[in-house]
């Protein structure tokens, strides 16, 4: 890690004072549409899945 820059880096990681004490919270600030908790096994064609498939289906024959 670059010691010379460590102050800069530290400041980047610090939580700052808010400019105001209170504010309006938007109702739709809940961005739950951008989070998924029921993911499909959609990457069936990735390398890892292919390897698994090959190995396990061999096993069953």
């Amino acid at each position: 890690m670059d010691r010379n820059n460590s102050t800069q880096i530290d400041e980047d990681d610090d939580f700052e004072d808010f400019p105001a004490n209170d504010w309006e919270v938007q109702k739709d600030q809940d961005d739950s549409q951008y989070w998924e908790d029921n993911w499909d096994d959609s990457d069936i064609d990735d390398e890892f899945s292919k390897q698994l498939r090959a190995e396990l289906q061999n096993n069953q024959n």
Binding site: M1, N4, S6, T7, I9, D10, D13, D14, F15, E16, D17, F18, P19, A20, N21, D22, W23, V25, Q26, Q29, D30, D31, Y34, W35, E36, D37, N38, W39, D41, D43, D46, F48, S49, Q51, L52, R53, E55, L56, Q57, N59, Q60
Partner: protein
């Protein structure tokens, strides 16, 4: 020092200072109460005149002047400390400034009594922490010790103890500054990485009934900041479910304004980590929005696959960044469960298409090997399966003799995040 403006107070000698302050105290004028005790509000002329005047008077005379205003009795030591600060002000010497503000802060602990004092409290507290950071974190400080930051944390502790004892009802009390002070104390503890000291604040907040419903009476800025630190503390102590709740509260209540983006981005990072562990994943849009796409996109893929080999490779590759953010250890230690679950689910999908819902231990050993876990034997496999069943991640039972896992026909792999939310 400010350019002379028509609103500046005439306070260039001890008497007119006290006279003005007496008016302010009478009116409970919280804004001017803060301005009058800020040397940086004086323009150069006023400053010089005041210093000359103060230097020409000995302490006894100054006390007499203060005493001639009966409503300033509460403030006498504080005023004297403030005059001392003004006389010795030195822009170039942060250490000296810190010591001067330290004395002033200690005197303010005795003064601080009313909600209209809170703005000054905040101003003084911010000066303390800013000076402490300037002193201890300057590039010249090679030794990495933090005496001023530690001293600042002690000052906040003292102030906090003086504040929470107040018997007034919450809204009318200096207790309304409790979370503000706590947050500054936490900021120092996080900087020196001594998280254990946070506990005494949390205990006292509970003891004095400032948590639960009363928490929500505090300003949003204080709530969001506290929830952020509390969430991170829980994460550090591996209490992931609690961490997620606190961080979500911070996230959802943090303003979306551009000035708050840095904070929101920080909150998002730690919320993200808790949610990965619990089984909820952000989509690409969100990762890009907060600037974390490159750090997490591949990691998330490995988690979904249960691919330990690539997960560990990515962790190692970005080790420095994860360590700097304080999330390396938790990512290394806490991701196992969800990844076992995902891997076994993959095996289930591949091997049971149209067949009975069962998985052999042997097929899992093969799968784990491909996923990067070479040294699992049948006992280890059974252990993992039992653990997942016990945690509600898998609906099944194991048969040690046949070495087969028999899964429920209905929802053998419940949604993990929903499962965790009910704990």
């Amino acid at each position: 020092m400010n350019v002379n403006d028509s609103n500046s107070m005439n306070i260039s000698d001890a008497y007119s200072f006290c006279s003005k302050l007496s008016e302010i105290v009478d009116k409970k004028d919280e804004i001017n109460f803060t301005i009058i005790f800020n040397p940086e509000e004086l323009d150069e002329n006023e400053y010089n005149t005041l210093v000359d005047n103060l230097n020409s008077l000995d302490n006894e005379i100054i006390r007499e002047i203060i005493d001639s205003f009966p409503n300033l009795e509460l403030y006498d030591n504080f005023i004297i400390s403030y005059f001392h600060l003004v006389k010795n002000w030195d822009y170039n010497d942060n250490n000296k400034l810190f010591e001067l503000y330290r004395k002033l802060y200690i005197d303010f602990i005795q003064v601080f009594s009313y909600t209209w004092h809170i703005i000054l409290l905040k101003s003084l507290s911010r000066s303390i922490i800013q000076l402490a950071f300037l002193c201890d974190l300057s590039p010249e400080n090679k030794v990495k010790n933090y005496p001023k930051i530690e001293e600042a944390s002690r000052l906040f502790s003292r102030m906090f103890n003086a504040v929470v004892n107040d018997r007034e009802s919450l809204e009318n009390s200096k207790k309304m500054s409790a979370y503000f002070i706590t947050n500054l104390a936490f900021k120092t503890y996080f900087k020196i990485k001594n998280f254990n000291l946070c506990q005494s604040f949390i205990q006292k907040l509970k003891q004095y009934d400032l948590d639960k419903e009363n928490f929500y009476k505090f300003p949003l800025a204080d709530q969001v900041t506290f929830s952020y630190y509390n969430g991170r503390l829980n994460l550090y102590n591996e209490k992931v479910i609690s961490a997620e709740k606190h961080l979500y509260h911070a996230y959802i209540n943090c303003s979306d304004d551009v000035e708050c983006q840095k904070n929101k981005r920080l909150i998002f990072l730690y919320l993200l980590v808790t949610r990965l562990i619990l089984g909820k994943f952000p989509n690409e849009f969100l990762l890009r929005k907060y600037g974390y796409y490159e750090y997490f996109i591949d990691l998330i893929k490995s988690i979904k696959q249960g691919n330990f080999k690539s997960y560990n490779e990515i962790l190692k590759k970005q080790q420095n960044w994860f360590i700097r953010k304080g999330i390396y250890i938790i990512l290394k230690k806490q991701m196992n469960t969800i990844m076992y679950r995902n891997l076994i689910m993959k095996v289930f999908t591949i091997t049971t298409e149209g067949r009975k819902p069962l998985i052999t231990y042997h097929s899992l050993i093969k799968a784990f090997k491909i996923a990067g876990i070479d040294d699992f034997d049948l006992d280890d496999v059974e252990c993992v399966a039992v653990s997942l069943i016990h945690k509600g991640y898998m609906k099944a039972f194991v048969n040690n003799e046949t070495q087969i896992i028999y899964l429920s026909k209905k929802e053998p792999f419940p949604n993990p995040f929903k499962r965790n939310s009910f704990n």
